[in-house]
């Protein structure tokens, strides 16, 4: 085991700790990033503790209480089927979190390897990958997701796949660009000079050095993913009822905008705050981690 062969790891840990502390201090000074972080934290807690925060089913209709205004019993009011909006917003956070994670997972899984290969090998491989990327980037991201959904069909899984794929070209471009600059570094040449294979150079020498922009893009991508998935839901092409999904809730609340505005307002605010949180946190991470802003 590594623990037994590397007993003096304190040197590394000490420095990693201090680096982490420095970054944390910086992040804390950045009020906007801190606010974003708090929003994400609330969002995560809500998603994880949904069943504790709201015992009972968020999807069971109760038509007698339809379209009630906010009250003690239903703090955010009820929707057209008499379901508590609070409960649906709380449970909706689970769905949107799942989408956010799934979307960036798809984007990373496909985009990062293609970007690495494209940037590192160059030549025909690069040309091929980049022309496909160009084609995908020619569509506005949401339009691409919409087109994919119309091919794949609606539902949670297909929403994740479609929005995820619409993000792939962004990751390809980002990773390729960073790879192009990292592969010219002397340490990559030095690794080649000791006979390291391409695969190991890519995974051990290049990938860790492009992690920072990937991390930042991932945070921003989660916000984008939530927004795109909500937009699909709003159009009725995303997650299907009765699953509580913010975009779909917003869509169905649109019909009652004048005499029951709370039906659309609260899911809309949930989307707004979640996306805001990820964007602020992403910007904050960039300020802290981007080497151009260091020192």
């Amino acid at each position: 085991m590594t623990e037994t062969t590397q007993p003096h790891a304190w040197g590394t840990q000490r420095s990693a700790d201090s680096q982490l502390k420095r970054n944390w201090a910086k992040l804390r000074r950045n009020k906007a990033a801190l606010f974003g972080g708090i929003l994400i934290l609330i969002y995560l807690i809500t998603a994880l503790l949904a069943s504790v925060l709201f015992p009972g089913s968020p999807s069971a209709p109760n038509l007698i209480h339809s379209l009630e205004r906010p009250s003690i019993k239903h703090p955010l009011g009820t929707d057209e089927l008499g379901r508590s909006i609070l409960g649906r917003v709380i449970y909706g956070s689970r769905v949107s979190l799942l989408i956010a994670i799934g979307v960036v997972f798809v984007g990373l899984l496909v985009g990062v390897p293609l970007g690495l290969v494209s940037g590192y090998y160059g030549g025909k491989v690069d040309f091929g990958i980049q022309r496909v990327t160009d084609t995908l980037l020619a569509f506005p991201g949401f339009l691409l997701a919409l087109a994919l959904v119309s091919v794949l069909g609606v539902g949670l899984k297909n929403t994740i796949i479609s929005v995820g794929i619409s993000m792939v070209p962004i990751y390809i471009r980002l990773v390729r660009g960073c790879t192009l600059s990292v592969k010219e570094q002397t340490y990559v040449e030095a690794a080649k000079a000791v006979g390291t294979r391409d695969r190991i150079i890519l995974l051990r020498h290049i990938l860790p050095n492009v992690m920072i922009p990937i991390t930042i893009q991932t945070s921003l991508g989660m916000g984008m993913g939530i927004l795109s998935a909500a937009a699909l839901g709003f159009l009725g092409l995303g997650v299907q009822p009765p699953t509580p999904e913010w975009g779909a809730m917003l869509g169905s609340g649109r019909a009652y905008l004048f005499h029951a505005p709370h039906v659309a307002t609260f899911p809309g605010m949930a989307i707004f705050l979640a996306v805001l949180g990820f964007n602020l946190a992403g910007d904050g991470l960039r300020d802290v981690l981007d080497p151009r802003f260091r020192l």
Partner: protein
């Protein structure tokens, strides 16, 4: 067959090496038909101004230039094996194992996200197929050998935690970890201050004795050449313009370019001896490789230029143990 024995002692025989780059403006010849031999256990110095093809020569030997745009011709015989004929897998087995390289910039030649120990043991595991722990303890041993204090601890540190001199030591440890027969040292001390330079030179000398490694020392620092090398090649615009044993070269440089190089070194006290007022310089700059001068490449800057110099390429002349590419000695 005394000749045969001498041939055997040659570790590396580069003949007619020509490295060209296809670029947008056309074809650039960075190394133009050079020959060089490295004997076992010897230090060969290569000197010249920036851009004269020293580094490209080293990179060509290890085939580290991407092609395209690079195109390498000639033969590079290493222990009777032509490195230019090997496929990528075969050359990878040579790199770091039989031939290793040290780079100029110790600040950038170590990966910032891996610990020193990881980087050195990676090279060891690659070529010796030993287990992770063994490679790690071997890496620590190497760090000890290059005189890094408390190597067990330092192995866990990242490059940014080490000083420039220590990083270059770590780089040397990495390059020597598989006991290569040939070490290509590309400006190994340029980025370091003078006291550290001296330590690195001592270290390389000692390790050369210990490992019986031949060194090709690439530098523009003539002091370093005088200190370490036995034979010296002087390069100018992709050609070897003079080759001589180090003492001869310093005492009696034949090529006007070599003379210019030696005159442009400041010697304390020399002013009084020769009555010279100012430090000499070689006028002009190295021309662009795209606008190669006709005839001798040095003639636009040469102080002893003759008519023929601008018309015909100079011949290779053998004189007093020198090999010089100049019309003066014909």
């Amino acid at each position: 067959m005394p000749n045969g024995i001498i041939e055997q002692e040659k570790l590396l025989r580069v003949s007619n090496l020509r490295t060209r780059f296809h670029i947008y403006e056309g074809m650039v010849t960075a190394v133009d038909g050079i020959n060089l031999d490295v004997y076992r256990g010897e230090t060969l110095g290569i000197v010249g101004e920036s851009g004269c093809g020293k580094t490209v020569t080293a990179l060509s030997i290890l085939r580290l230039l991407a092609s395209p745009p690079a195109e390498i011709q000639g033969t590079i015989l290493f222990e009777d094996m032509n490195l230019l004929d090997l496929n990528l897998n075969e050359i990878r087995k040579i790199r770091g194992n039989a031939i290793s390289m040290i780079f100029q910039e110790p600040m950038t030649s170590l990966n910032p996200v891996l610990t020193i120990g990881e980087q050195i043991s990676e090279a060891i595991r690659l070529h010796q197929g030993v287990a992770r722990q063994d490679a790690w303890s071997k890496a620590v041993e190497m760090l000890q050998m290059v005189q890094i204090p408390s190597p067990e601890m330092r192995a866990y540190e990242y490059p940014h935690q080490l000083s420039g001199g220590m990083r270059q030591r770590a780089m040397i440890a990495m390059a020597l970890s598989c006991r290569p027969r040939l070490l290509l040292a590309d400006e190994p001390t340029t980025a370091l201050d003078v006291t550290i330079q001296a330590q690195i030179v001592d270290l390389m000398e000692r390790l050369k004795g210990e490992f019986k490694t031949s060194i090709v020392l690439i530098t523009h620092n003539l002091g370093l050449i005088a200190e370490m090398a036995k034979r010296v090649l002087v390069m100018y615009m992709g050609k070897v313009v003079e080759e001589a044993p180090v003492e001869d070269l310093f005492q009696e440089p034949l090529h006007p370019y070599t003379q210019g190089l030696l005159e442009s070194i400041p010697w304390i006290g020399k002013k009084l001896k020769t009555g010279r007022k100012q430090l000499q310089e070689i006028p002009g700059i190295v021309p662009s490789l795209l606008e190669m001068p006709e005839g001798c490449r040095f003639h636009p800057r040469c102080s002893r230029v003759m008519n023929i110099c601008s018309k015909e390429e100079p011949p290779l002349v053998q004189k007093d143990g020198h090999r010089v590419l100049c019309w003066l000695w014909k």
